[in-house]
């Protein structure tokens, strides 16, 4: 589904602020895989997502989507295949418009025509869709009036409605309170299963990353340091994961030490 070859991203190249955010990453995500991505702050998780969805241009390397090279394709065109949900609940919806207007805008991807698609049949459909998140009676309310949890749930609904093939979830429940985070996460998993989506999910919750998904990737300092799937992933525990992380870090540390001593 997604194939990433030798991807490198350098910010502010040639200046004193030069920062290598991703270094020579290669990754192949198959159809139907649910990949949990973990790693500390600054490890390159968000950069990886921004490169896949086209927000940033790549420094070097190649991104292939369904055998098609999309490395140079602008973000809005890649968006036809990719649904993306951000950590910030305000990024997925337009606050100045009503819920129904947001939904109708999200119901198809690509350039819109001069057709009036919003009618009572669609309104009924929307009401039904909104029942799980309790917004069925608020079609005509502005999205700006909703809470963060409601907005994120609406964003999720809108993303699913537009029928993406891959969804990228960038800590999309991190800004919500625990109860809302749970609701949104449950819905997310339900939709992923229902629509048979390929998903990549950044999370800080190791336990969650171990329990859910078919594959786990750990990133550190712009590299993928650990990649596990199938049976190996099922046997994973938080303690084991932490141990692996420590071992890898230690190795690096001793290597660095060695370099300094020379």
């Amino acid at each position: 589904m997604i194939e990433i070859n030798n991807l490198t991203k350098v910010f502010y190249p040639g200046t004193v602020n030069e920062k290598v955010a991703l270094e020579n990453i290669s990754l192949k995500v198959d159809e139907g895989e649910i990949v949990c991505v973990i790693g500390s702050n600054g490890s390159g998780k968000s950069t990886l997502f921004n490169l896949i969805s086209g927000t940033y241009s790549v420094t070097n390397g190649q991104i292939i989507f369904k055998d098609k090279d999309v490395t140079k394709m602008p973000e809005y065109r890649r968006a036809k295949y990719i649904g993306r949900i951000f950590q910030d609940p305000t990024k997925g919806t337009a606050a100045n418009m009503t819920i129904e207007d947001n939904l109708i805008t999200a119901s198809s991807k690509g350039w819109k025509s001069l057709k009036i698609s919003l009618n009572n049949t669609r309104r009924k459909e929307f009401s039904k869709l909104l029942i799980p998140i309790g917004l069925q009676d608020r079609l005509k309310d502005n999205v700006g009036l909703l809470s963060g949890g409601q907005r994120q749930a609406l964003t999720l609904l809108m993303t699913i409605m537009s029928n993406p093939e891959v969804i990228l979830l960038d800590e999309h429940t991190a800004a919500l309170d625990p109860r809302n985070a749970e609701i949104v996460m449950d819905l997310t998993l339900k939709y992923i299963a229902e629509k048979n989506l390929t998903a990549m999910m950044v999370t800080h919750n190791m336990k969650f990353a171990i329990e859910f998904g078919t594959r786990l990737i750990m990133m550190d300092e712009g590299k993928i340091i650990f990649d596990v799937k199938g049976e190996d992933k099922k046997n994973l525990t938080v303690d084991k994961l932490l141990e692996i992380f420590k071992n890898i870090k230690n190795e690096e540390f001793t290597n660095d030490e060695g370099l300094l001593n020379v």
Binding site: Y76, A94, M97, I104, S113, S117, L118
Partner: protein, 311 residues
Amino acid sequence: MLEGIFVDGLIFSIMVIGIIISFRVMDFADLTCEGSVAAGAAIATVHIVNGGSIIVALLLAFLVGAMAGTVTAIIHNKFKIPGLLAGILTMTMLYSINLRIMGNRANIPLLKSVTFFDKVENFFPFLPSSVASLIGIILVVLLIKILVDIFFRTDLGLSLGALGGNEQMVISQGINPEYLKIMGISFSNGLIALSGGLLAQYQGFADGNLGQGMIVQGLAGIMIGEFLFSSNKISLITLRAILGAIIYKALMFLGRKYGYLIHITPNDFKLLTGILVIISLWIASGRSKASARSAKKNAIHRSLERTGDIK
């Protein structure tokens, strides 16, 4: 006299609707307006003076405004500069272009030509000329209002609204925001120039300096309208734009007529309009603070009730 205020206000309201599209719907502070209103006036006047038809003159005005808007949007898109600066660039360039359109004259009178308003008067010979003008302009504004209302209910119009609320959402929906901006800003400036084309015919001349201060006047009209009622429905938003525009023109009329009593001359109007906008902003921020306060009061009230329940 009263009809005059309404005609003036209704012509102005077309411009206010145009400014609402850029400033409010798209959240794009576009100053092209000052140039495009004069450009619309210039091209319509030149076309009519040369014996062209009025409908074509107004269409040309719309087109020239749309072209100006396209230039602003392209400058903004390609060079990644803020919309404000892109608009100022186009506005300044338009000043020269407008003088070119008018054959390097600063002012072209229309008094000897047949204008839109003369036509309407001839169409309703049994009515006083001022009433006939009023009916004519009401029909034009109504037509524009309906078209704008319908446009913003289409899928394309909604995506323009989404652009103003959240550009990332538009990109995530697979829409190229650059094209949307070109379309929206050119539509907005088309209406503004159309308003200029009508204004020139009403006041009987086109002037290179017509656009000066127009954006602040337009904002004053928008803000007066927003005091009348709040709504998120496009039909009510355009309605209050029209009402706000008329009220603004009425205020200016009163200022012209009775201002001498407190030593105000028309020279002071730009200052007063600016102050009007500032006061509107002040009242609006006071309002939102007041509603925050009352929300807080309600919240405290509710929490007290809840603790009461437990007891």
